[in-house]
């Protein structure tokens, strides 16, 4: 244990105040159209992603069924909102807690079975479990609402201080409030003995057992806590959308959170926050523009797994490290060149995919495709030649520029490593 005497950890207060400030001013900056609803969605996905990362990033537990906890939490939350009994006395502000405790209860129940194993077997059990819950949810329509789902009205009870949760802005601030609290709680978890033990269980389970800890118990407790926060995000989602359906407990939803969190970066606490923004950008905003968004998301994910397994956060941190050592001036020119040629190739690739999609899936609407106000005839040769030209230029340019960048990058990083060794010695 590292003993440090810090009467006032100024940096930490700054970071958390900055986070709170961003949450408060975000709706003032992004105020156009659907921005508020997108921000609200990002908030719920952030909580969901952070809770998922408690398993994957901190515990090394690859789960394909995390939506079970958020989805069941959402169902209990929505029934609490609809009920006239005990549920009616819970104010909307605290409805996420109903979801949280429901998620936690199912974490206690299911986690006992799933956390018996780790690694690949754990992944498969969670996949089986999510399919089990999804299939059962269609069997009990009175609780799960069948295909249509369960709807509610979030404006209920007496408005407290004029807050009725009718306007979207009030829902946003509710989500932001819970996001802030949950983020602090989940960060605090990483500092507790249990949070440290789950890291140890991820890295070297055998040694943890030799020290005398029960790895299954550590995984089980972590999963229960993670399920609690997943349930909170489910409850917030129920308030935000006012509908919960079987899709909320599906393997698709679970796979999506895995994609988002991994894209953000699983080895950093804040990675899922980044992943939530990118993920909602892909699945909500991009899907308005193009039918190919799932292809782009899948491709983005595969490329990240292949070339940057630590996610977007690691790319940003590596650049920041170079910057903090004052060597950024040496890499920015080649970096810019690589980005420029990649952009050219990428533009060609995107245009080609869009035209292909139009050709196969929207053939019934004629061969004229409209994107960004431009009309393109996908049956003519000219646009395809342009696409091929852009792609070729991108690939040739990349091949020419990349080795130079790689050389500079390796050189700079070697220097940084040398400096770090020097300062440590």
């Amino acid at each position: 244990m590292r003993l440090t005497f810090t009467p006032l950890n100024l940096a930490r207060y700054l970071v958390w105040s900055g986070f709170a400030l961003i949450l408060i001013v975000a709706p003032l900056i992004f105020s156009k159209g659907a921005a508020l609803s997108i921000l609200s969605q990002i908030g719920t996905v952030m909580i969901f992603g952070l809770s998922y990362n408690m398993l994957l990033g901190q515990g090394g537990m690859l789960s394909f069924g995390h939506a079970v906890y958020s989805g069941l939490g959402a169902f209990f939350a929505i029934h609490a909102m609809n009920s006239s009994g005990i549920g009616a006395s819970v104010p909307t502000t605290l409805i996420p807690l109903v979801g949280g405790f429901a998620g936690m209860a199912f974490g206690v129940l299911f986690g006992y079975v799933t956390t018996k194993k780790s690694g690949t077997t754990f992944a498969m059990i969670t996949l089986g479990l999510v399919e089990l819950v999804f299939a059962s949810s269609l069997m009990f329509p009175s609780f799960f609402g069948g295909e249509g789902g369960i709807t509610t009205n979030r404006v209920r009870g007496d408005a407290l201080f004029g807050i009725s949760y009718g306007p979207q802005i009030q829902v946003y601030y509710l989500i932001a409030f819970w996001l802030f609290i949950s983020t602090i709680a989940m960060f605090a978890f990483t500092q507790t003995p249990l949070g440290r033990m789950i890291n140890a269980v991820r890295d070297n389970p055998e040694r943890v057992e030799f020290i005398g800890y029960n790895t299954q118990w550590v995984r089980y407790l972590t999963l229960i806590l993670s399920a609690f926060f997943a349930g909170i995000s489910g409850g917030l989602g129920a308030i935000n959308f006012e509908i919960v359906s079987a899709e909320n407990v599906s393997a698709i939803r679970s796979g999506a959170v895995l994609l988002f969190v991994f894209i953000g970066g699983i080895s950093f606490f804040f990675g899922p926050l980044l992943g939530a923004i990118v993920g909602v950008f892909f699945s909500v905003m991009l899907s308005d523009f193009t039918p190919a968004w799932q292809l782009y998301l899948g491709l983005f994910f595969v490329l990240l797994v292949r070339y940057a397994p630590a996610g977007l956060a690691s790319l940003i941190l590596m650049l920041l490290r170079v910057k903090s050592f004052g060597l950024f001036h040496r890499i920015w020119k080649p970096l810019l060149a690589v980005c420029a040629v990649s952009l050219v190739g990428f533009a060609g690739f995107l245009a080609g995919i869009e035209m292909l999609y139009h050709l196969t899936l929207e053939a019934a609407n004629g061969s004229i495709m409209t994107r960004f106000g431009q009309q393109i005839d996908v049956k003519a040769a000219a646009p395809w030649l342009v696409v091929a030209g852009l792609l070729a230029a991108g690939i040739v340019g990349y091949r020419r520029v990349q080795p130079g960048y790689y050389a500079v990058w390796s050189e700079v990083n070697a220097e940084i490593a040398a400096k770090q060794r020097g300062s440590a010695a």
Binding site: G119, A123, M124, I125, G128, A135, Q294, F301, P309, Y357
Partner: protein, 314 residues
């Protein structure tokens, strides 16, 4: 009697199809430790390839060519996607195949469209094989069983009776020793991966026209074959066989049985109505719960026999 026999036959033929899929998955898993999440996607790819090839050349060339093409695609995925990730451990490999399953579904929709394609059963295999009592058994079901069984026999013979099979078996347990003897183990991995994918492709060729060839077909069998692999015991080919047949028969029987706990209790003299507590659960028929049976079996196996039916390791 008639019902039992035909349901059993249908169940076995479905189970054999599941085995064609899970055998490749098991082979890849036991060799490389990689759970190929995109395995069902290769099954779908096989069906679509067979649809395209059979519309040009006919069904029989497709039966041979489509699995070969799928196997080559699989080998390429292993060579350029998975092999560089091997040094990072199994989780990135698993995630890579997970991402591939997304990509393949999208690419299939891009090439063949979002609707189901008309991939018919060939004329010479259309019709009843035999008629017993008043029900007839289609030739194509028999053909599926024949292909699956001959595939089972040939895998067994290749793995146990040929030099290549012995090298593969040795590489399963002692990759370092095999490498020291001068065999290129990464290349063996590549061909095993490709071979497993080709088996999935073959299952797609004969499963695609028995069922429906559509972009959702990977998702329908995807999770079932993982259940098969876990229930049978991770990495056990014999276990995968038993589990496939078990789940195939179980599901086929369950779909056909229209009984619930309510009919049973009411038959015994109880009087269950909507007012009875737990009515929702009691009125569920077995056929309604058919979809959850494999997953229920998975959970029960994991609680009572965690290493699977024939598994050797936990």
């Amino acid at each position: 009697m008639e019902f039992t026999l035909f349901t059993l036959l249908n169940g076995v033929s479905y189970g054999l199809l599941l085995f064609m899929l899970s055998s490749g998955l098991t082979l890849i898993f036991s060799m490389m430790g990689v759970l190929n999440f995109a395995h069902a996607s290769f099954y779908m790819l096989g069906a679509y390839m067979a649809y395209t090839i059979s519309s040009v050349l006919g069904f029989w060339p497709a039966l041979v060519l489509a699995p070969i093409v799928v196997g080559l695609i699989g080998a390429l995925v292993e060579r350029y996607g998975l092999r560089p990730l091997h040094k990072y451990g199994h989780i990135p490999e698993l995630l890579f195949t997970f991402g591939m399953s997304y990509l393949i579904v999208e690419l299939v929709q891009l090439i063949w469209g979002r609707a189901a394609v008309p991939y018919p059963i060939p004329k010479e295999l259309d019709g009843p094989l035999f008629t017993l009592f008043s029900t007839s058994f289609p030739i194509y079901r028999g053909f599926m069983m024949l292909v699956a069984l001959s595939m089972l026999a040939s895998i067994y013979l290749v793995l146990t009776r040929t030099r290549v099979g012995l090298v593969i078996q040795a590489a399963l347990t002692h990759p370092d020793a095999v490498e020291a003897l001068g065999h290129n183990v990464p290349r063996i991995f590549m061909w095993v991966f490709g071979g497993g994918c080709a088996l999935a492709g073959l299952a797609g060729v004969i499963g695609g026209n028995a069922f429906v060839t559509e972009p959702g077909m990977a998702a329908t069998v995807g999770s079932i074959i993982f259940v098969v692999v876990v229930v049978g015991g991770m990495g056990s080919l014999a276990g995968a066989f038993v589990a496939s047949i078990l789940i195939g028969v179980l599901q086929t029987f369950a779909v056909a049985l229209d009984y619930s706990l309510m009919t049973m209790f009411n038959g015994l003299g109880a009087n269950i109505t909507e007012a009875t507590p737990g009515y929702e659960l009691l009125k569920l028929t077995i056929s309604q719960s058919a979809a959850i049976l494999p997953f229920l079996l998975l959970v029960l196996i994991l609680i009572f026999r965690p290493k699977g039916l024939m598994g050797t390791r936990e």
